[in-house]
Symmetry: C2
Subunit: 337 residues, 2 copies
Amino acid sequence: MATRIEDVAAHAGVSVKTVSRVLNGYANVRTNLRARIEASIRELNYVPNASARSLAGNRSYLVALLYDNPTAVSSYIMDVIVGVLQACKETPYNAVLHPFDAADDLAARIDGFVAQHRPDALVLVPPHANNAKLLQRLHELDIRYATISSKLRESCIDIGFDERKAAADIVSHLISLGHQRIGHITGLKGHGARTWRRSGYRDALRKAGIAYDESLVVDGDFTFASGVVAAKALLDHDRAPTAIFAANDDMACGVMREAYERGLSIPGDLSVCGFDGTPVSQLISPGLTTVRQPCREMGCAAVESVLQAIRDPAMSQQERLPYQLQLRGSSAAPGKS
Amino acid sequence: MATRIEDVAAHAGVSVKTVSRVLNGYANVRTNLRARIEASIRELNYVPNASARSLAGNRSYLVALLYDNPTAVSSYIMDVIVGVLQACKETPYNAVLHPFDAADDLAARIDGFVAQHRPDALVLVPPHANNAKLLQRLHELDIRYATISSKLRESCIDIGFDERKAAADIVSHLISLGHQRIGHITGLKGHGARTWRRSGYRDALRKAGIAYDESLVVDGDFTFASGVVAAKALLDHDRAPTAIFAANDDMACGVMREAYERGLSIPGDLSVCGFDGTPVSQLISPGLTTVRQPCREMGCAAVESVLQAIRDPAMSQQERLPYQLQLRGSSAAPGKS
DNA sequence: CTGACAAATGCCAGCGATGGCATCTTCGCA
DNA sequence: TGCGAAGATGCCATCGCTGGCATTTGTCAG
């Protein structure tokens, strides 16, 4: 039914093996022959059969993206996915998405997944990227992988950005506007992001010589609802902050909701900053000041690095991508309407 | 390296073929044998190699999701993706995402894709779902597919929901609140969604006996920016509407932005409704009244139907899924603060 | 108990590509 | 001009599994 390599070989008058060489980019094919074969390929509209290739070559041309939370894909993951797909587009590799429930014993389930699909490489995002047992197992299985995280672990391929500094930057922005009492809503316990962003918050205060006030730091869990609850607490404070830095955009929206309910004007009565740069940050009014995480770029870079590592197995690489402060209407000098 | 079917056969003391029968769910295997083989499979942690299976069986166990707009995955697509992945999880099938630029000549490019991956089924979302040339080519190639659209074409598998009625419902909601002058911002020309939603808008007006006023209908293109522009036009109208129904949530956010800039209160001075039920509709303040499209459910249903059609090739099926009106703070009786 | 038929099981080829090795060219240099 | 090495090309086995058909086992009526 479809064209096979054999057809191409016959059409070009060469052996199957030579066509295979051209397909796989081997050097030792005479220039004119290569041209003839390439012409035949185009003419016959030949595309190699992925299954046969994978079976014979013991390569799958598959890059698997493992992520958590199969029921609600965050815009974070979405953006990473876009980057991954984009990076694959330029290569013979294809992406497979695989939601893996973090609750499961991943280290055990990964074997089945690998046996079935034999991906040539994996890309892991948090929290899997920080699952030591999983990484351990991947080493045992000798599978190349890239992690996307801000940990920047050595001896692996790890793509990230400087979350701590980004958080510090955004808080410094608030300080430069004149804010002295700045509240912070943290992320979910156990997530690296929680720690990095809170550390950045403290860094900025320290740098500005502002005393750290523990009562201005409230636990959140990255959800909108937790942002609302935390905002209530902060706004009920007897010396309420004039600005709030939420550890992500959803919680910042929660703060804006609570401000709305109380009739507080933003940024007149309260400045609000988020983190992530999700679509909502642009759509909400006023626009939300935030940090855009380079999600797409990280997805892209992860795939590129890990594919490069297939060619040069010795490679290990840590890469920090640039982030962007996005200053919008939700932050302004305190007390200004 | 990994376990093969041969190992399982040896372990269970049967032929490879019999193991294959068990794997593929053939009926004619004696019960005790089947149990023994299943035990061996579990014990050895055996998972069939997908490439070999696909090559030998001329089936790929792949469902491909074709979508447009590779640079910015909309939350619509993302939700469909979640549904598709979810539906695959229960089956031996896997999903492959394939962004296809609508600008390209799809009907031509599809051949290469099919030759390479031999997906057993395709799922198409708009605008590809309405690309007649593409569908034609798929018929020629004899590839099963499901479309997700509200067109509900006969003789195909088509999953959708009643967009027109949903739009009418939401406008009726505004009317029931007491609004008489209701503006509408349309979707992008050429999109079915534009037509259906506008028709629903007219249906609701007609049903309520409100004259259709063309000057209250302004072109948009589904983007936030176009929402802002359209809102300016409507609010500058010498008899400005008291409510605006935007054909999607992003444009509704644009309306809210323009209201914010003008110091208009929502819903006090202006009620706003969107369409889609994207995450932003919950995060924004006040919450946006909208229609939640059953995206995830549609993705799920599309896969289920098309896989069913593989078993029963004669099947064709149209399914309309329920949508949900989500009434939130952005809509209220006119003139009420 | 036997024969005939149905059900269960096994054997072997083949899916479409690549890898290893054998063979054939080409080319440089004595 | 001839020879050897390097480079180009081809042949055949093989990857792990399923399909078709042959063979074995089981069942039941006569």
